[in-house]
Symmetry: C2
DNA sequence: TAGTATACTGTTATCGATTACATTAATTAT
DNA sequence: ATAATTAATGTAATCGATAACAGTATACTA
């Protein structure tokens, strides 16, 4: 672990000159530059990040908050963040926010301690605005990714959830369905309420009065989707199609339908949201709305890095495009 | 961002005394301790990690190398690592090794720069011994998790893969199968060859001569499993059961069987490996060998931290227990 | 009472980098 | 030929913490 001093001694120059060579300053003679580079190679020198970051009071680490690492939706976004960050020389600190309550203080410390240069949050349930931001230094960069925040003071990367849901339900209507149920989650999540809105709007446009009992709620996981579907299956008049606000819930719904001895899509069509890898591996394969998860991650990281480099004074939110992927669960 | 100097001034003591209070040294008077604590609260002080780590030339970050973040097997392990690490005050730097070739140098720098205190690798394809280790400082801690390394100089956390595979195939034999195929991957992975061995041993014990054509190989993903199964389906005499060395490949196999108009388990039973969350959501649900992924992660992190704290001079490898989970894909 | 141990606190060097400032050498302008 | 620029380099302070060492005050021992 050679230090800059050793390199300087080896090269017969001062540490300042070595530093200038490392950081590509002008005003270094070719002679000095060459002997420094030679010394660096000889000693296998790497600048120590701690020393550098302490002095410049900067850091090349980004903190990513995500509700659950093993949720494929988030991990795909994380992949995008990671790739972009690495290309720009940034490291990713991950923090799974689901696990416990000490977490808040743990990651807020990360920011306070200047360990991370900024926070990218994938957690839609985290109240960034009212809980997180006030605890951070003024101007500390935060980006929300995959959902839009409660209010618009925090920049985000997302898709137009209402529009995407609208189009998905429109598609169901176009294929002849009129009794279309919604499987959704708590209204705490903006994306959930936005997709709910899109659903309502599509029905309204077709002159269909959405029934109270068509809205079934559950946890955002497989069991939650399964239970929500089971509730729908107790209705006197069954829906002929279901729009679930997430693929995993939709996959749970598929299961409940099959358990009831019914068939998808002939008895009940199902449409999901997110296009997680597994949505293409189910039986039947799942019609879904594709979110550009990887791109969302890339964009979030890029926005953060631009902000850190002051290329952009303020971060502008970004709406990416979505796509309806039609598969077996709705094909008649 | 108050510094230790400001706290010292506020409390009317020297920085040394503040440092002693922070680090719970004895020999601090109650009077000093109280005024320091008061100053810390008042200034909302948090020790700066960069300063501390530079001085102590230590760090509380661990680097985790994983082939793919979005693979549920790895992400579940990562969850265990993360939880344990955080409880002990360590941060996790993730590095997805699949993506590109600059990666090697990127993460080796992390170690060289003393940014990370140790490396936990989940990547079975990474040649830790011959490629990674020689580039690191002598004694730099590395742990392999989820697979045993090529040779035994690097400590690891894993299960007994050969035994687990043996028991899985034994179960198929016990339920009357005699033509049992194997879907596996490249022999580059130790876990793959170990599971292959277990398969061979079980067949041999039952006096069954394993046929060459029963061994079908593919990439370790959904498509790989599907293609490998398709190859098996071209045989004149079809196998009645298939053991796949990973759940995702097994799920691909289920798909291929269904596409061929056959039924699982009545025509061909399928058994997977890993017990990823999705193995319980397929149709039919997948019989599989459960690896304690979360525990593996916890153990790996714990071993690393013990090593770093010098509780353990050398790290001892750990074999955790597995379990056969019987579900619909093998139930007749 | 002098001497010694003990408890507590402060001074200062240090980790490894960056950078403002000073200095010197070389070049150009007058 | 002298003054004024410009280029190249070095000196030393600095970031925020820790810790060796020294120093002071108090209690205890002989």
């Amino acid at each position: 672990m050679a230090s800059i001093q050793e390199v300087a001694r080896e090269a017969g120059v001062s540490t300042a000159t070595v530093s200038r060579v490392i950081n590509n300053h002008p005003f270094v003679s070719d002679k000095s530059r060459q002997s420094v580079e030679k010394a660096i190679r000889k000693l296998n020198y790497e600048p120590n990040m701690m020393g550098r970051n302490l002095r410049t009071s900067s850091t090349n680490m980004l903190l990513v908050l995500l509700p659950s690492i093993s949720n494929p939706f988030y991990s795909k976004i994380l992949q995008g963040i990671q790739d972009t960050a690495r290309r720009k020389g940034y490291y990713i600190l991950v923090c799974e926010t689901d696990a416990s309550s000490e977490i808040q203080s743990f990651f807020i410390n990360t920011a306070k301690q200047q360990l991370a240069a900024g926070i990218i949050s994938l957690d839609p349930s985290l109240d960034l605005e009212d809980v997180l931001l006030p605890q951070l230094q003024d101007g500390y960069p935060i980006i929300q990714c995959g959902d839009s925040p409660q209010n618009d003071t925090i920049p985000y990367v997302s898709i137009d959830n209402a529009m995407a849901a609208y189009k998905a339900v429109k598609y169901l209507l176009a294929t002849g369905h009129t009794r279309i149920a919604l499987i959704t989650a708590s209204d705490d999540f903006r994306y959930a309420t936005a997709r709910h809105e899109g659903y309502m709007k599509a029905l309204a446009e077709s002159g269909i009065q959405p029934r109270e009992e068509w809205i079934s709620r559950g946890e955002v996981d497989y069991e939650g989707g399964r239970l929500a579907m089971q509730k729908l299956l107790t209705l006197d008049e069954l829906p002929t199609a279901v729009f679930a606000i997430g693929d995993i819930m939709a996959i749970g719904a598929l299961k409940a339908i099959r358990e009831a001895g019914l068939h998808t899509p002939s008895d009940i069509a199902v449409i999901g949201f997110d296009n997680i890898p597994f949505s293409n591996m189910t039986t039947p394969t799942l019609t879904t709305v594709s979110q550009p998860m990887y791109d969302m991650g890339c964009s979030a990281a890029q926005m953060m890095i631009d902000k850190l480099n002051q290329k952009e004074k303020t971060i502008k939110s970004l709406i990416l495009s979505h796509e309806l992927i039609i598969r077996e669960s709705t094909e008649l």
